[in-house]
Symmetry: C2
Subunit: 354 residues, 2 copies
């Protein structure tokens, strides 16, 4: 019963909230490899367009909740804590929650989804609607304001392309982590840059200013020390944090850095094209328009060497109808909007049955 | 004092050995990412040629002792246990040891060497000579019978090329682990194969029989399940164990598997060429002969698709003087011979001083 005891501590604040907690809310969670965000949104009436700005009661942030990266126990603790924090900040308790939409990286299979659903069910009363999705789904919803149509490309520490058709078919590409070839990701870019330093040092590759710039950033004096640095900590985010250095080296004219970014662009574009083709998002003539929601630090780099812009250019050569969207709200808000949409759809269906 | 207590248990057998332990011995250790081997060899008189077969008193085997892979505590325990096992089997105790030559992967920097030396000093009496080397050095010595000249290429779970000139200069290439681009390694080959399965599945890459053959080997029913399988266990050796499946797919004519092996050949050859060029092992005209000791499961594949043979073909286009050697003794014996050579050299120097 250790678990229950821990739950008890996390949820202790609920005794203090009392009647304040009557306003009905939705929790939207975005759990990535680097951080986890939970927002608490009030239930607002079905309307078109959405209220602007969207009413967000509270926002809480925690660390990594990808169970493939930190293990299941740590992932669960992080998710439970961040939900409790968001409810505490909004002055709500669990009985006020109508729905939880948990969109978390590492959900790759229906068994992953079911495991998380079972565990959420231990935390929330039975009337609470629970939805578990891959984190890409919330990211798409953040660009389409809760509508599941089009494709999303995430490129942060990891990368994935995820698409939906209006009739509910879905497809994904990449998102399989660094061992399984997510080369366009922030981790992929930075690992290639570290590799280029080793290769320049041992004579396998050309000289590059990545060597001096990255070693200086890491406070290391020799490429020899990179090996110890790399394996001292298994965190992918720690390596991905070097992407800005690679971008600045490419902007300074370094050929090796430029080629690494160019490879990343091709890999990211390839993921999107694979999804678009499988779902037929481009129509039969390949020219139909479709939204491409672009999310993550690698695509947001507002620099001269703009990876996101190059990815769109690359895709538009095959699919000229691509409509890039840079979301105005964060993925956790996308998850809350998605939860709201699911809830409205279910309510509507139930009302029709009566 | 927990450490001392543990030592006490490991070395308990010494009380039983008594006078039997008077014969002087050398311990040679080869610590790789997959396993660790320790041999116990008697001191034999300086002679040329070596006794054939070499007298080996005992051999013990343990798991991984690369501190980058399993952590420092586990690596130390493994090394201590395997030395104790070899001494126990040979009926010797620590006071009979003249020299220990520990050749272990993960020794990349003088600080790594010093840390292991200090720790060995806690185990052995002060008169015991201690030598710590990267595991590539023992592998070279296993092909040259203890002489440090030429180049060794290891390709097992990991890969490294290491070379020595007769006047004592040394150079290495690769050996920086999977994150830092050891693509020709067993891990590299297998990770590329797993990646090819994911890419075929999500539409980014061509279809390949790697999918059915590897999934069947792993007992998985869908490529989706590969992600969970891959990250369930961080062992690199577990992934590298799939190399034979990749080789058999290439032999069956699969283009994707063939290209993965071809890439591996190019990467491995590039490592050797980088070392040969930096050390000038090929002479000024590039045609001088030099030994290339070839070690590790990837190079030993005695199949139609022979990676080792292709690597030599590739190198000989640049350096026709390459003389491939497949060692007749294992790297741990190479380490013992190296320890014997170091010991003889030191004894000779001391005798000259007198």
């Amino acid at each position: 019963m250790k678990k229950r005891y821990r739950n008890g501590e996390i949820w202790d604040f609920e005794h203090e909230i009392g009647e304040l907690g009557n306003r009905e809310v939705i929790l939207g969670l975005d759990g990535g490899t680097t951080s986890t965000v939970c927002v608490c949104m009030p239930i607002f009436p079905f309307s078109d367009p959405f209220p602007d700005p969207l009413p967000v009661l509270a926002r809480a942030v925690a660390g990594c909740s990808n169970h493939n990266s930190v293990g299941e126990t740590a992932a669960r603790e992080t998710l439970e804590q961040v939900m409790a924090d968001a409810l505490l900040k909004s002055g709500s308790n669990r009985s006020a929650v109508r729905a939880v939409c948990l969109s978390v990286s590492g959900v790759n299979h229906s068994t992953d989804e079911l495991r998380i659903l079972n565990w959420l069910r231990e935390i929330f009363p039975t009337h609470v609607k629970l939805y578990v999705q891959n984190d890409a789904v919330a990211a798409l919803a953040s660009g389409t304001m809760g509508k599941l149509h089009g494709c999303v490309l995430i490129a942060g520490t990891g990368t994935i392309a995820f698409g939906f058709t209006e009739d509910g078919r879905q497809a994904r590409a990449a998102g399989a982590g660094p061992v399984l070839g997510d080369w366009g990701s922030g981790y992929g870019i930075a690992a290639q840059a570290l590799t280029a330093i080793v290769r320049a040092y041992d004579g396998r590759g050309p000289l590059t200013i990545l060597s001096s710039n990255i070693l200086q950033t890491l406070g290391l004096s020799s490429p020899d020390e990179l090996i110890g640095w790399t394996y001292a900590d298994p965190s992918w985010a720690r390596i991905a944090a070097l992407v800005p250095v690679v971008v600045s080296c490419a902007e300074a004219g370094d050929r090796v850095a430029h080629e690494i970014l160019q490879d990343s662009v091709e890999e990211l574009a390839l993921s999107v094209k694979a999804v678009v083709q499988r779902l037929g998002l481009c129509g039969e003539d390949g020219k139909a328009s479709f939204p491409l929601v672009m999310v993550g630090g690698v695509l947001e780099a507002n620099k001269r060497w703009d990876i996101g812009k190059e990815v769109v250019n690359h895709i538009s050569k095959s699919y000229p109808g691509v409509l890039p969207i840079h979301p105005k709200v964060e993925p956790a808000v996308g998850a809350a909007l998605l939860g709201w949409n699911f809830l409205m759809t279910e309510s509507h269906k139930e009302a029709c049955k009566r």
